[in-house]
Symmetry: C3
Subunit: 203 residues, 3 copies
């Protein structure tokens, strides 16, 4: 799952940088940052040397995703909305949320940290690459995306409170993220803004 | 003071995100980052696991500030300019500057680090949330705001050089920040730009 | 070389902030961040307390560069394109790439980390200050700049694989960066975008 996620995230990031007409170096950096930025930020917060600097495998998979974006961008109009890409992205969202929640749990941190690190690990790379592209992070503005990682983190924490094994809590977290993302995409969910809430209030 | 500051900072951040029509998740993230982002950056620079990940109390106070912004934004036109909010924000500025200066001093770091960590702790959260909102950090562009933290850090360092107790240096720092911010707000101080200086020069 | 680089980087960063009409505090912060931000990010990734917080000398040189920008901006139309500034900047690019590659090598990290830390150390400060100025990082969009650091990192790694001394690998890295930057500037090299590649493909 992790491998699919790295390729998927790097593809999405590189495709956005190609759209913005970044040069080959920029496309590579944004793609790799989308794939590895969330995990790197998680490791900084956990006060460890980032795993991404030590695992050539993860870097290789990210570069594979960037290459795929460069090759396929000629054949696809809106590459990052293709079902294969959306699926790979959702798998990455689930895998990275689970890793973040698991490492926070193993570090003995409380519920906020489990949820925060699940979210940072899953959505941090996308947020960083949006900033690098001069966009406001899409996860804050629209869509039911980072919320899936929040749901996953809460699921992990709730299962861990029930004294299930770490493996079971991880599986539950990954499934919760996949289910939330699948439902969210299928039904075009998005979170309300405060203005929407206000309109409902005053009706 | 810390509690008031966390609520005040979260309120200001959330109010800005509501203005920008971010969704409920985005408003929460920006509000919490405004309150906790400065301290988190400070802990990263001091090479520690961020305190914010380990203290449910601080998270709870931040969420309280976000909730207050969501509730009161209907009743106030320009909520983050309300005297109560400005006061809470100034108290946070003083409390966070003091914490940053104190921790840098206790880590045995020199004067630049004392000033830098006071400033990062106090103004870093606001700068991060401005970036997340797609704005350039307001602290760099106008207003007599981060300069108060610089003054506080210098005050702490000067007092510590005179071998006073840490408690006294902290009190002096907090009072210096409050005085500078109060004067700055009252007299609408702002720092000159280089262009302004240039006009004076050539007159 | 390091001293020249710190002054040159701080000059370039401060000159950009003056252009954007930031106040004196903002100009100082952006200038200092341009000079010290890359090394600070490198130290965060290596899980160390940033050197910049512990070395008053580096801070002093950065402030010297900021002061130079404030003074000379009146006499120069496009200060950061002046040959003296371009030379100081290129020297900084070489010195900082070398430091990043060396520290990654000494930490026993693999080739990706050597290249990544050379690049972050050399180009990270400029990227951070572009974000603070509300611009997309120039290194991602155009020009043959960060690519020089990549070439330097690869050179260091290749020489280290041949079991030469660390001093020789460092010299090779610095010379490779200087040569690449000099050639790039002289011949106005820039990396292709994917769209350019596409046009060539379909011809």
């Amino acid at each position: 799952m992790n491998a699919v996620g790295l390729i998927g995230f790097a593809f999405v990031g590189a495709a956005k940088a190609i759209e913005e007409r970044y040069d080959v170096f920029g496309v590579t950096v944004v793609g790799v940052m989308t794939a590895l930025g969330g995990g790197t930020t998680r490791d900084l917060l956990l006060n460890r040397v980032p795993n991404s600097l030590q695992s050539p495998g993860e870097v290789g998979l990210s570069l594979l995703g960037v290459t795929a974006a460069v090759v396929f961008v000629h054949y696809l109009d809106d590459g990052h909305q293709h079902p294969v890409v959306l699926t790979a992205d959702a798998i990455g969202l689930a895998a990275f949320s689970t890793t973040g929640a698991l490492l926070a749990h193993q570090a003995g941190l409380p519920v906020f940290a489990v949820v925060a690190l699940a979210t940072v690990n899953a959505a941090g790379g996308g947020a960083i690459s949006d900033l690098l592209l001069g966009r406001t992070p899409f996860i804050l503005r629209e869509d039911f995306y980072a919320s899936c990682a929040v749901i996953g983190g809460l699921t992990f924490w709730a299962l861990a409170q029930m004294d299930v094994t770490v493996g079971l809590a991880s599986t539950g977290c990954a499934l919760a993220v996949l289910a939330a993302r699948g439902l969210g995409l299928g039904r075009e969910w998005s979170l309300p803004t405060v203005q929407v809430r206000e309109r409902h209030d005053t009706r």
